[in-house]
Each structure stands twice: as C-alpha cells, then as structure tokens.
C-alpha cells in the first residue's frame, strides 16, 4: 500500500468553463419587457417586477423607500390584510426591496399556485391606495426601527459614509435624520408612485420553472394592460470624486468603533472595473484577504473586516468596513492604511495573485449555479445595458491580468488623499 502523503495537496484544476443558463429576452403583448430563465428541477418560480424607482429618483430622503414599503399595504379593492392573507394562504412570499437605483417587487411561489397569487400582485402594482392609516402606522414603526439603528455604530458609519463621499443633496448620499421621517407627506409618496411605478417603467424577470404555461399566465395578467409609451431615459446625475475627509461620531461607552474608509469609484461601465474587482479581492474581498490576514488573523483586532466595490447606475464606490475594539481603533486604522499603501508600491506576488484568480473563478462558477442565481447575474448587468459578455470579459481579465497592471491601478485609485474616513464609536 502506498503511504498517504498528507502534506501534499491533491491535484486540482482551474475553473475553465462556466456555463451560463440562456435567458429568453422578449416582451409581453403590450410591450412590457419580459426576460426569463427556465431551469432547475423544482416546480417553483421567482418573478421580479423591477422599476427604475430607487433613491436616485427621489427629491427628498425616504420617499423611494417609503413608497416601496407602503405599496403592499392596501389597494383600491383589497385591504393590506387581505393582500397578505391572499398570498400567505398559498404559501407564497411577496417581498419588496428598494435600492439606490431600482425598486423591486418579488414573488416566490410554487408554480401550481401562480394563478392564485398573481391577482394580488397585480392589484398591488396597479392600484395601491396609500391610505392615511397605513401611512401613519408605517411611519411610526419606521421611526422606532430607525432609532434602534442609530444605536448601532455600524449603521452610523454606513450612513455618514454615503453622505460624505457624495456631493451635497445627491440622492445616493442623502443623510437621513428622524426629522425626515416626520416631514414625510403621503402626497409625495403618491406622486412618486405615479411617476415611477408605471408599467412603461417596469421590466419583468422570471426564473425557475418558467414553461409555456407560466409565460402565458404572466401575459394574461400583465400583457393586456394599457401601457403608455416608454419614458425617455431619465437624466443622469454625475458624481465627481471629492477630496478625502475625516468624520468622527463619538459614542460614549462604545466597546467597539465602526470604521468605513472609501471613495467614489468607477462602475461596471468603466474599463478599469474588472481590474479593480481583482485588486479589491486581494485587499479585502475574501476570507484570506490582506486585511483579514493582518487585522483579524494576525492582530485579533476584529471579528471581521472586508472591502467591496458597489456599482451604481451613475456612480460606484469603494469601501472598507469593520468594527474593532475601541482601544485598538487607532492601531487598526494604521494597519488598514499600511495595506492600502502596499497596493500602490508593491507588485502582488504571483502565488497570491494565482490564488485570487482561482478563487474568483470558483466563486463565479458558484454565482451561476441554478436559475435564481443566474437571474440575478443577468439583471446585474442588464440594468447597465450590458449582457453576458460582461462576464466573459471578466473571466478573460482574471486569467490574463498581470501584477504590473494591478500595481498601476493601485497607484491610480488608492491615493490616501482621495479616501474618506468615518469612525463611529470611540477613538
């Protein structure tokens, strides 16, 4: 018998072939954009109704998210309770989500119950009533939740970060205060709905068991509605890079400080985006990243630290985020900047870069696993007018990019004077 050599790693292969499930791009009879991915072995379906109705389009803070939350709370023909009962009875889930750019209403259901629950979804989208009573309940409870969040250093840091990196009054960076809740008016919400939740501003994405029957059920429900001509693309608001700044919110008795460091960054439409994703992974984008290795696994300052790049329609941003012991806040900051500086001064060793490349390809393979994941992958590029070729180019960049090219990106994008630093807690 051959002795097992436990010190030697088994042979492995780099992921070379990622299969993208095909998306069918079509429209309903009345022209509503309808895309779907048919796959998976369960008789279940997920349907997203996506509107360009995120924070980007609001004139005052909280309007977009409040509209999104309240849309389910009663319609012309049903009370809020009747809607949730109607959907719950069939074991379906109907969720709303508001983001910086879009507002999404998502239905998860067993395929066999689709026809039972769709009428409620349709009511919610076409005829929400936004009653005064529901508005008051929503507002009061939202204020309570907000007050609790304000006790969390991580929440304070995130909130202050967005308003610090974006120009004043930019909808991405609106710094919400309790008074904004108090100033909310139901008429603003109704107007926001009218302007932004039109069917001509909606695209439908279905994934899961989307066979002919499902397509026809959706067409019957939504394809016969009158739709006015598509609105021209809304004006884009540009975001310029601001000079870095420092903001400190002191919280007495805080055992930990939340730290956010970052800046405005290119989004998916920019040629540097791929390379920056790879560079970000090296810095703080996975468990073995440099920030984790140094600040958690070597120093033990934190339970976790990470960094990321958020791509938005009209901007992007880069951020590092962590919560560290109050007594080591300064030391942690020093170490974070040390790691950032290394991105600008030293080429990434080949072995480390190879590891990151393999890791990213493995994660991409996982992100394409199954129709629901693939649906998200599709939408994540489709909203920028891109298609799957975005991922093929990403794969190509991962395989080909050199330490030298990444160093150049480090120099270009990680200048300390461009970085904004937020601390909430106790230094």
């Amino acid at each position: 018998m051959i002795m097992l050599d436990r010190k030697k790693a088994p042979e492995f292969k780099q992921v070379d072939n990622i299969h993208f499930l095909d998306v069918v791009k079509t429209t309903l009879d009345n022209g509503i954009e309808f895309n779907y991915i048919n796959g998976g072995s369960q008789d279940i379906v997920k349907i997203d109704f996506i509107f360009d109705a995120g924070n980007l389009y609001q004139k005052n803070p909280l309007i977009a998210s409040s509209t999104n939350q309240l849309i389910k709370e009663g319609t012309e023909n049903y009370t809020a309770l009747e809607i949730s009962e109607g959907i719950d009875l069939y074991g379906a889930f109907f969720e709303v989500e508001n983001s910086y750019d879009t507002a999404t209403l998502t239905l998860y259901t067993l395929t066999k119950h689709l026809t039972n629950v769709l009428p409620f979804v349709k009511e919610v989208i076409l005829r929400p009533s936004f009653s005064e009573t529901e508005f008051e309940i929503y507002k009061n409870n939202a204020i309570e939740r907000f007050k609790i969040n304000l006790e969390k250093v991580s929440f304070i840091a995130r909130k202050n970060f967005m308003s610090a990196i974006f120009e004043e009054n930019h909808p991405y960076g609106s710094n919400v205060e309790i008074v904004d809740y108090e100033n909310l008016q139901i008429t603003d919400i109704k107007n926001f709905y009218k302007e932004n939740y039109n069917l001509n501003n909606c695209r439908i994405l279905a994934s899961g068991k989307v066979d002919k029957t499902v397509v026809s059920i959706l067409n019957t429900a939504f394809g016969e509605e009158k739709v006015s001509p598509k609105q021209p693309n809304k004006e884009s608001i540009t975001s310029k890079l601001k000079e870095g700044s420092f903001h400190y919110t002191k919280k007495e008795n805080a055992l930990q400080s939340a730290i956010r460091i970052g800046r405005i960054f290119p989004n998916k439409l920019h040629k540097d985006y791929y390379g920056l994703q790879i560079l970000n992974t090296v810095l703080g984008g996975y468990f073995g990243s440099r920030l984790m290795a140094n600040i958690r696994e070597d120093k033990g300052y934190t339970y976790g630290i990470g960094s990321g790049i958020m791509s938005l329609k009209n901007a992007g941003y880069f951020f590092i985020s962590t919560e560290v012991g109050s007594d080591v806040t300064k030391d942690a900051l020093t170490e974070i900047y040390k790691e950032i500086e290394i991105l600008r001064t030293e080429e990434i060793p080949t072995e480390e870069l190879d590891l990151v490349k393999n890791y990213l390809l493995g994660q991409l393979l996982k992100s394409c696993d199954g129709p629901f994941s693939m649906g998200a992958m599709f939408e994540n590029v489709h909203e920028y007018g891109l298609d799957y070729s975005f991922y093929n180019n990403y794969i190509k960049t991962i395989k080909e990019i050199t330490p030298k090219a990444l160093l150049a990106l480090g120099v270009k994008y990680f200048d300390k004077s461009d970085l904004t630093e937020i601390v909430a807690g106790k230094i």
Partner: protein, 412 residues
C-alpha cells in the same frame, strides 16, 4: 425528494452521498456532535472558541483556508448549543481538496499558541460586536439563565462571560479535541454531481486511517418542570422598551415538535399572522412582534417578543399578548389558517432544495437526530398537524407558570 446513499467507515465516520446532476458545485458538510451544551459550566463558550481554532492549521497543513481558496472553494462553520458544523463548497473537479483538508484537521490540529492567542481576541471582539455593543444584544445572556436552571442551555454559545474565553488554556483545547473531534462523533454529507463509489474511495483514502475515539456518552442534567412564573426586569440604554416571554416546549425529536412550530407560525409568520394583525396593525401597541421556537435538540423555548411603541406601558402591552394567547387557547383555529402555515412549509422546503449546500446540511442534521431519511418525511410531518393539536399545545405550554418574562426597559 432527496435521494441519498449512506455508509459507515470502520472508525465510525458516517458518510451520506446525495447526487444532484444539475450543478457544477459540490457541497461538503462535516458535522461534529458537540455543542455548547457539552461544556463545563466554568468553561463556557469553549465549543465556539474551538470552532475558530479549527481554522488555525492542522498537523500536516499549516493553513486551512489558503489551499481551499486556491482551488476556487469557500467555507465557513457555525456552533450552536447542540452541534458544530463545518461546510465547504467548491467546483466538483476539485472535491478531493476538501477531503484532504478536513481529514487532516480531524486527524490532529497544529495547536499553535499564536492561533489560540489570536482567536481568543477575535472571539472576544465577536462577543462585543454581537452581544455587548448592540442594542438588545445581551437579551439571550439574560433570558437563558432565567428559563433554564439546570440544563446547560442556560448559557449562550458565545459563553456566559468574556473571562471564560480569556482563561482557556492549550491543555483545555487539546482535551476538548480528543474528547469530541473523533470520526465516530462526526457525520459527513457530500452533495453534487458525484457518484457514491467515488465518495467511498475518497472517504477511505483520507478518513479511514484516523483512529476512532472513545465513545462520548452525553448525560445532561434534565431541566425540572417549571412551576412558578419567573420575571426579570433590566434597564438599558436603548430607544424602545421590549418584552420577551419564553415558554418551555418539547425537544426536536418529540412527536409534538411540528405542531408547536406551526403554533408559532400561526401567531407570527407573515403580515397576516395573528400577533402582527392584532398588536401592530389594529391595536398599535408594538412596532414589531414575533413568536418563534428555538429548535434545539433538547427541550427548547417558545418565545414571544415585541418592541413597544412609545407611550405604551409594559402592563398594557403584556396584557395584549396574554389576550391573544387566551384566544388561541380558547378557540380552535380555522382551516384556512392551518392550510396557510402548512403551505408555507411546503414552499419553503421546495425553495430550500435548490441549494446543494442546504441539502447536505439537512441530511447531516437529520442523520444526527436519528435518520437522514427524515428530510423526506419532514413536510408530511407538518401536513399531519391538526387545528385541535395546535389548540392542545397552546393550552399545554402557553401558561404563565411555564414562562420566563424579561422586561427590557429603556433607561432614559
């Protein structure tokens, strides 16, 4: 339906294999039958601290994460009061790397002082981040010892206090490893586009030579029947008053478990549930309200909790909860209400089966509790629940003499 095959190695390691041809990803889930309930009362938080140390290098491999990331994989772990569970997902071509890594740390850890020192600090930061530096973060540190007097569920997985973690020594770490991290105390489940024969070969190659350990006999003190109402009131620097009511309930393997679970769903699952409709929407007493079960292996807790709106007194808020309890104890729930929560179970199960990792985890958990095949009868166990049964459980457990109430008041 989750089809699977099962075999046991000579050293006692149970291996479960589930084939799913639809995915290029393999899930590798290794469960150890040890949790915070197996700790000594003077050394709480140890099972969880140990979980961290499992990533600090093993006898032949200095770093666990690096080689895994290098083959495109990712992993994590969690500890509960009952179990410690380690899981990996990776491209199926590189599956052997998971066998290599996890068998080596079952064989023996590196036990370096550096790892112990660093992970001790990391866990203390975790303690602060999740339990001490969050509004309402210490609730379970208060509620557990109120509800449990004897059973080790009286402490949280993170531990009773930071000093227990500070005082852990390398000798403690080694003793814990030898006692609990043996092949006969573990269950491995692998799910993906794989063949049982292939998994058999890999299991034998990597795990067979690990000697079995002494069988660990669990004998935990039984929690005596609670006979008197218990109350605790604390003041904290939080923006809203909150109330927690924890009632003792059956164990996870008890025949009444599914009925008890559905009782909590009837009360609080979704916006059409009883508590939300009545207490948040109609009476406007709470900003949020919830009912849930702990799902623990031994006798667990059925908890009702809510945050009070400004200006609502604890007396009125608690009375309103008790009214709802009275109602569900008095009247049998309607058929629609029962169908609703059963349908939610059915669809949740369907959606959960889209992930190989969920399937691998569920197979391991079910095997530990008796039989992996129970994953396939779980939904029908819920289907069998009756409205009368829910009424019976409500009357059996939702009594104040069976309840620990925590009044969590704002200090300002």
């Amino acid at each position: 339906m989750i089809n699977f095959e099962k075999f046991t190695l000579e050293n006692g390691l149970t291996v479960i294999v589930h084939k799913d041809e639809s995915t290029p990803i393999v899930a590798f889930n290794l469960l150890y039958d040890v949790g915070a309930r197996d700790e000594d009362e003077s050394q709480t938080g140890f099972a969880h601290l140990f979980e961290h140390l499992m990533f600090g290098g093993s006898v032949n491999i200095p770093n666990f994460d690096e080689p895994l990331q290098k083959v495109g994989g990712t992993n994590n772990a969690f500890t509960s009061n009952d179990i410690t569970n380690y899981y990996i997902t990776l491209p199926k071509e590189n599956l052997e790397t998971a066998f290599w890594l996890d068998s080596d740390r079952m064989l023996s850890l590196a036990f370096t002082n550096k790892s112990l020192e660093v992970q001790r600090s990391v866990v203390i930061e975790e303690f602060k981040q999740n339990y001490l530096n969050q509004p309402y973060g210490d609730v379970w540190l208060l509620l557990r010892p109120l509800a449990y007097k004897n059973h080790p569920y009286k402490w949280a997985t993170i531990g009773k206090e930071i000093s227990h973690i500070e005082n852990a020594t390398m000798d403690d770490v080694k003793a814990f490893f030898h006692k609990h991290y043996t092949p006969n105390n573990a269950i491995l489940a692998v799910a993906g586009d794989i063949e049982t024969e292939e998994i058999k070969t890999l299991s034998e190659k990597w795990f067979k030579s690990i000697p079995s350990g002494k069988t660990f006999e669990r004998s935990l003190p039984k929690e005596p029947q609670q006979t008197e109402e218990r109350r605790l009131e604390v003041k904290r620097d939080v923006p809203a008053n909150a109330i927690y009511k924890a009632y003792h309930m059956c164990s996870k393997t008890h025949v009444d478990y599914h009925t008890t679970d559905l009782l909590s769903d009837v009360l609080s699952l979704g916006k059409s549930s009883r508590l939300y409709t009545s207490l948040v929407k109609e009476q406007k007493l709470f900003s949020e309200i919830n009912a849930f079960i702990s799902g623990s292996h031994d006798e667990g807790l059925f908890t009702i909790t809510g945050k009070l709106l400004d200006g609502v007194s604890f007396g009125i808020a608690e009375e309103a909860i008790l009214q709802e309890i009275q109602l569900i104890k008095k009247e049998i729930i309607g058929e629609d209400e029962l169908t609703k929560v059963k349908n939610k179970i059915e669809s949740t199960a369907q959606f959960s089966e889209t992930s190989v990792l969920n399937k691998a985890m569920n197979l391991s958990f079910a095997e530990l509790l008796g039989d992996a095949n129970d994953v396939n009868i779980e939904v029908s166990n819920y289907q069998r629940v009756t409205a009368k049964g829910i009424n019976r459980i409500a009357n059996q457990i939702l009594n104040e003499t069976n309840c620990s109430t925590l009044i969590y008041a704002k200090s300002k």
